[in-house]
Symmetry: C2
């Protein structure tokens, strides 16, 4: 495969790049380094099968130049700051929806016809069915992030109908593991390094979320694109379980040997548009023979270990 990976220097994408290279594929990585980390591509850059192109997905001509010769696109670049959508109402539209249009148009011009896209469980808004299947009732979007991803998903499916693309849409829960650069584990660890005696928690701590370890996520993506032949393939990707924020706090503080005072902001949501319960039905992906190797607790501990060994990540952004 000649792969094109957007957001290549990001958390999930850089792990995917390493996996693709290890499997013998040629990989072109594309990143604007707005949030990506050059350190994450250090191994890839030493590999002869890897080519790095620095550029912005909003520069349609640059994407088109970069994508030439590739057959499969892993479009993982995104604005992933779900929480701060209302502070920058155009950012999700630009970096998620418009950027996806540029990727699709570059593929059309360059002859690439297969795309795997990192969507999100946030497209279900505040779901009413749990675990939530891919065929849940038509959701009402509650975040600009979810809205921008559902718009991108729609274009990707429409390109399958209009231009014969083969498309894979993966709706992720929060992903954990090595190279994790944002999210609650980092927030909590950063706080506890600064003030081990207390921890500020968004919401009431009873928000129920599901997580998935990054290598389990990548296993699923690679399995699906190797197996499926339909024009449009949509998969939820998450653990077969969920936990409360309070469970996560328990595992993290135990691993650190701390007993901080927990200071809850209150309310059942962590922020505007936060869904108080995310738990995806992944039966469709499991039917292909996939299952996660790490539990949520193991994923959180693995992430914490990574952050302890790489404190420079805490200083970023």
């Amino acid at each position: 495969m000649k792969a094109f990976v957007t957001g290549a220097a990001g958390f999930i994408a850089s792990n995917l790049v390493d996996r693709l290279l290890a499997a013998g594929h040629e990989v072109t990585g594309f990143d604007n380094f707005s949030t990506g980390q050059r350190e994450f591509l250090a191994g890839a850059c030493a590999h002869p099968g890897f080519r790095l192109i620095e550029g912005d997905l909003l520069d349609a001509a640059a994407v088109q130049r970069a994508i030439g010769g590739c057959d499969t696109v892993f479009h993982l670049a995104a604005n992933a700051d779900v929480r701060f959508g209302p502070d920058h109402p155009r950012r999700d539209l630009e970096q998620n929806t418009i950027a996806t249009s540029n990727v699709l148009e570059a593929m059309r011009a360059g002859g690439a016809r297969r795309i795997a896209f990192s969507s999100t469980g946030s497209v279900y808004g505040e779901a009413e069915v749990f675990p939530t299947p891919e065929t849940a009732p038509f959701p009402i979007q509650t975040s600009l992030y979810g809205a921008s991803k559902v718009g991108a998903e729609g274009m990707i499916s429409a390109y399958a109908a209009a231009f014969g693309f083969q498309t894979f849409i993966f709706r992720f829960v929060s992903i954990l593991g090595e190279r994790y650069t944002h999210g609650h584990v980092l927030d909590f660890y950063r706080q506890l390094r600064q003030h081990p005696e207390y921890l500020d928690v968004l919401g009431n701590g009873h928000q129920r979320k599901s997580y998935l370890y990054v290598q389990d996520c990548i296993n699923a993506i690679l399995l699906a694109i190797g197996r499926c032949t339909s024009p449009v393939n949509i998969f939820n990707l998450g653990a077969g379980e969920y936990c409360e924020v309070n469970d996560s706090i328990g595992w993290i503080t135990k691993a650190l040997g701390l007993a901080p005072e927990l200071r809850y902001a209150g309310g059942e949501r962590g922020w505007i548009g936060d869904s108080p319960f995310i738990f995806l039905d992944c039966a469709r992906m499991r039917a292909l023979g996939w299952k996660p190797e790490l539990t949520i607790e193991q994923g959180i501990i693995r992430t914490l270990e990574y952050l302890r060994q790489n404190p420079w990540v805490l200083e970023k952004r």
Copy 2:
């Protein structure tokens, strides 16, 4: 109400403008006249409560200047050429999704907090449930048009959550009636004026579609915004029936006294991304006391009469 109507010179919007003015509201119409017709606003322009601003929704600053002082936005401007999406893959994104973002941002800046949006039954893709309710299973988009509208819908709902907007999303079937400027009735009538002896028909004629008369559509919009108090209100709008393209051909040719040879292009779809069956469940709207006054047949005949009396419409576009 101080209303702001986008695409004011269009088919549905110009009818809405007349209704709003007749009800005593102040109306600012905004249109770039790319497809809108000045003739449709002739009556409105003679009314003291009407103000026309010529501008483009992709010019965010112009929208922001124009919207000042308005409290309720009827966002009806759109690229409505469902069929030609693949010829211009960016057009739906720009004119439907990005334009909607500009409208929402202008509202946020200008203090308008209520928006009614013309979405489409096309957001259901190829539905599997008929009649299709608003809560149908999460659809797979089959057209760039549907994708661009589902992206816009998502942003609108997210603005309700993030910024306290009250939002109305109306998913229309095809609308019929006075000032109709594109669609199958116009195509058929135009053909039959040129060559009464035959009629070229897309697909196999068995495509099943639902339609709604424009004043019935406007009745529903005005009823809903007067009654509903929820932040997000989503309504299908269509007739309680559907017809085959062949039924429509029968009504039109009978009214014209013609018996053309029917030349079918074949296939169950009229074009790429065309849904062979559109029939929306409008029980939610009917529960407010609304029902259509015209049948589909009456709506088609009314449209045909309009076109016969206004042949200049056939020469446009």
